[in-house]
């Protein structure tokens, strides 16, 4: 009976997650709990299995992120001078880098829990901030906020802010530096090289 209930509940949750008009705070909560539940019962992920962690993120988290927008934010002013093809390449490489960063953060998961701060939005809002806190025993709670925008495919996250630090705009200085030195293509090459060396390091 209990098992049946659990099954029905999980079906309900996943339908909720699929629904396009699911509210942004509900979306953040369901994705977070879904990921944490998966990490809690997976010893490989807790022991730092990068490949498995990345796979988890790709299936459970990526569908709710807008990487085109994230990359535009990170690149800043120079985004306008990029061709559609360059934009696509940049977004693909930046996504790979951020997924790896996120997987490293998940690998250091011990027994944190997430508290969801009160959320309110007006009916017409298309850009909102969902605020959460990561609680860990014996340490100050860490603020973890998500910026979401409404798109035709539902709400999508376009920025993640940890303790006041945007993981996206934090790249602006380094990206601008790369673009000044080698143009948009220079930045694409640097990102490719970085991702390649990280992937190689993992295999070694």
């Amino acid at each position: 009976m209990q098992r049946l209930f659990a099954f029905l509940f999980s079906v309900l949750l996943s339908t909720l997650a699929l629904a396009q008009d699911v509210a942004p705070d509900v979306l953040v909560r369901s994705v977070t709990e879904d990921v944490l539940a998966a990490v809690r019962q997976d010893k490989d992920i807790q022991n730092g299995n990068t490949q498995k962690t990345i796979a988890l993120i790709q299936t459970k988290v990526l569908p709710y992120f807008n990487f085109q927008r994230m990359t535009a934010l990170a690149v800043g002013r120079d985004w306008r001078q990029a061709t559609p093809q360059q934009k696509e390449q940049l977004a693909r490489q930046f996504q790979e880098l951020l997924v790896r960063t996120y997987s490293n953060a998940l690998n250091s998961y011990r027994d944190q829990t997430v508290r969801y701060r009160p959320f309110k939005m007006n009916p017409g809002d298309t850009d909102v901030l969902v605020r959460t806190e990561v609680l860990q025993p014996g340490a100050r709670p860490i603020q973890l906020d998500y910026s979401l925008e409404k798109t035709e495919a539902g709400w999508k996250v376009y920025d993640v802010v940890v303790a006041g630090v945007s993981l996206v705009t934090n790249y602006r200085d380094s990206f601008a530096q790369e673009i000044r030195a080698g143009g948009i293509d220079g930045l694409i090459r640097s990102l490719e090289a970085k991702n390649k060396s990280l992937a190689a390091g993992k295999a070694a």
């Binding site: 993981l167 530096q177 640097s190």
Partner: protein, 246 residues
């Protein structure tokens, strides 16, 4: 006489070496194109100091922190952490008052009182369990609230990233750290300082790999993170949203 001069030179040798290194880099880096970041006018010097810091960290601080992390059971670590954090509540409370945040200031002093007594010299953070949340104020933030601008970004070995304003603030906050006030025993004081450094470094260990892998340029990544973090702290966690350029 000669011997005395020599040992004097040896003692101050590292400072001379640092200064030379810094000068060499300012001269050497002037030719290479760098981000003309108005927040970091001394980038060449700062990058040299960053390299020195990374060297010290790799050779000494990080191995010590790793050993400490491996040896200390979690409850003992929490005791050490709470002990040092408890003392900061004096400065946090005072700075909240200086920024005109009366209730947050009183909250800080209440924490100090409860944790120093019921919490046995701060080893246990009883106040948090009672609902007195730890504040997050320091003199750098107070100066910012009073209208003092950031000033140039400064990276120093061991001390880490700062703005000019926050470096001054950090110095003043050290004066409000009563652990040093009445401690005539130099060896005990140094041990307490070293333990504090190791504990705070150990707390950062999990972040090492994240930063290492996330950053294209670690120096620029940490600089951006530090400046964003301070900006958020000054606005008590609700800074104006970043500009979207599209």
């Amino acid at each position: 006489m000669n011997q005395k001069t020599e040992s004097h030179a040896a003692r101050h040798g590292w400072r001379a070496a640092l200064a030379t290194l810094a000068l060499a880099c300012i001269a050497g880096c002037a030719g290479t194109p760098r981000a003309p970041s108005d927040k970091d006018p001394y980038e060449g010097f700062n990058r040299a100091m960053f390299e020195v810091h990374e060297g010290i960290d790799k050779a000494a601080l990080k191995p010590l922190a790793r050993g400490y992390d491996a040896v200390m059971p979690l409850p003992a670590r929490m005791g050490v952490h709470n002990f040092y954090e408890n003392i900061w509540d004096l400065s946090r409370g005072t700075n909240a008052l200086l920024q005109g945040k009366g209730s947050e200031g009183m909250n800080g002093f209440a924490r100090l009182l409860v944790n120093s007594t019921v919490g046995i010299f701060g080893l246990f953070d009883v106040a948090s369990e009672l609902g007195f949340d730890q504040g997050d104020e320091d003199f750098g933030q107070t100066l910012a609230v009073w209208g003092v601008p950031d000033g140039p970004y400064v990276f120093l070995p061991i001390i880490g990233p700062n703005t000019g304003r926050d470096l001054v603030g950090w110095g003043v906050d050290q004066l409000f750290y009563p652990l040093w006030w009445d401690l005539d025993d130099v060896r005990l004081r140094n041990s307490l300082m070293a333990l504090r450094a190791v504990e705070y470094r150990a707390a950062l260990l999990p972040a090492d790999k994240v930063v290492e892998e996330a950053a294209l340029d670690k120096y620029a990544y940490l600089r951006a993170a530090y400046l964003q973090r301070r900006h958020a702290q000054i606005h008590d966690g609700r800074p104006p949203q970043a500009q979207d350029v599209e």
